[in-house]
């Protein structure tokens, strides 16, 4: 009995440690993984608020897990530290979407080609709670200062990818100047 008793304290401590480590790792993972992805896309923060147009998805596409080989992707790491960021996406004659992800991975905004005005999407991204500027663009509040905007253009063939690559060159991701 005594032999068992002396294990009670250590075993309870072990269980508490296991539960605490489990929760810390699970809760920390999204922010940590997202931060690593933002660093990869933005060259460790050197290229924020600018679209980066990825080449056609291939075996060399290893920045983000599970890429679709049928979509043309562009990504922009946004940083609202210096004020709102204007994000635009030209229209496309097939499925396309502009989606925005918070630093904790949440997809807090998405607009697809059928929801976009004929000229494409025009978004002004602001930090949530900050003043809404007067603008004709759609104002979207971000729950985090940093995050990722992503363009997806459906382009399953090399020909469609070339067309999408040409269409997306006019997309903007830049600090907004009033």
């Amino acid at each position: 009995m005594k032999a068992l008793k002396i294990w009670i304290g250590p075993v309870i401590a072990g269980l508490v440690i296991a539960a605490a480590v489990h929760m810390v790792v699970v809760l920390d993972a999204p922010g940590r993984i997202m931060a690593a992805a933002m660093n990869r896309i933005s060259d460790d923060g050197a290229r924020t608020n600018v679209w980066r147009h990825a080449p056609r998805t291939s075996i060399a596409s290893r920045n983000i897990v599970r890429p679709s080989p049928d979509l043309a992707y562009s990504s922009c790491v946004f940083d609202l530290s210096n004020g709102p960021v204007r994000i635009t996406a030209p229209s496309w004659n097939d499925y396309a979407s502009l989606s925005i992800f918070a630093a904790n991975t949440d997809n807090f905004y998405v607009i697809n080609d059928r929801q976009m005005p004929s000229g494409g999407a025009d978004i002004l991204l602001i930090r949530n709670g900050s003043a809404r500027p007067a603008t004709s663009a759609i104002v979207v509040e971000s729950p985090s200062t940093k995050g990722i905007a992503l363009l997806r253009y459906l382009a399953p063939t090399p020909e469609r990818f070339a067309a999408a690559a040409a269409a997306r060159t006019s997309a903007r991701c830049e600090v907004w100047r009033d």
Partner: protein, 213 residues
């Protein structure tokens, strides 16, 4: 006298050593259990993702959602970063065949289904590291715009290392332990209402490394 004192000291020493060993052991086991269990829930969708009809595909409507629980959010970060929320896209995944056996590069499979209820859909094969399998076949997926199907929308495809004349082929060359992901962009309202009742493709194992299954 001296001998009794030495014996007492040795006993105290043994007790202290025992205490240190017990606490060290449980702390190490606790740390390892916490890390391993976290790793497991972040890589295996068994807990927070629900099985669809036929027990083959798994999904969660909370992918990408601002309401996702910590387990869904962590798994999406690890294995599906930048996934869209369900209203825009629903994702289904599996790493086994219709008989519950793990999908392997060494085996050939027949995948068959019908046109899925979405504006656009695709089925993509990923290697064990969640990236495209490193081969030069340029056949990592089949999608709604290029798939060869019958008049009713029914189709059959082959998942294997060689095309073997298949009209619809997904190459599994160099994939190792592979996984499949279905994307349904702009899913029909019925999919959002009943995501577990969608008529999803079946995966039949044909043979493994030349041996019939």
């Amino acid at each position: 006298m001296k001998s009794a004192k030495r014996s007492r000291m040795q006993s105290v020493k043994r007790t202290m050593m025992g205490t240190i060993v017990r606490w060290s052991l449980t702390i190490i086991v606790g740390l390892a259990a916490g890390l391993l269990s976290a790793r497991w829930v972040m890589t295996s969708p068994t807990g927070s993702f629900v099985q669809t009809r036929g027990d083959l595909w798994r999904t969660s409507l909370d992918v990408g959602s601002t309401h996702a629980n910590p387990y869904v959010r962590a798994l999406v970060a690890k294995r599906g970063l930048l996934a869209l929320s369900a209203k825009e896209t629903i994702y289904y995944g599996t790493s086994k065949d219709s008989d519950g056996r793990p999908l392997r590069e060494a085996c050939d499979y027949e995948i068959s289904g019908t046109s899925l209820p979405a504006r656009w859909w695709s089925i993509t094969l990923y290697a064990g590291d969640d990236f495209l399998a490193v081969n030069n076949d340029d056949a990592p997926s089949i999608d709604a715009t290029t798939i060869a199907s019958g008049p009713s929308g029914a189709w059959t495809g082959r998942i294997s290392r060689e095309r073997a004349g298949a009209a619809n082929w997904i190459s599994s060359k160099a994939a190792g332990d592979l996984a499949l992901s279905i994307r349904m962009y702009n899913p029909a309202p019925t999919v959002l209402a009943h995501p577990l009742e969608v008529d999803l493709p079946t995966i039949k194992r044909l043979d493994c490394a030349g041996n019939p299954s």
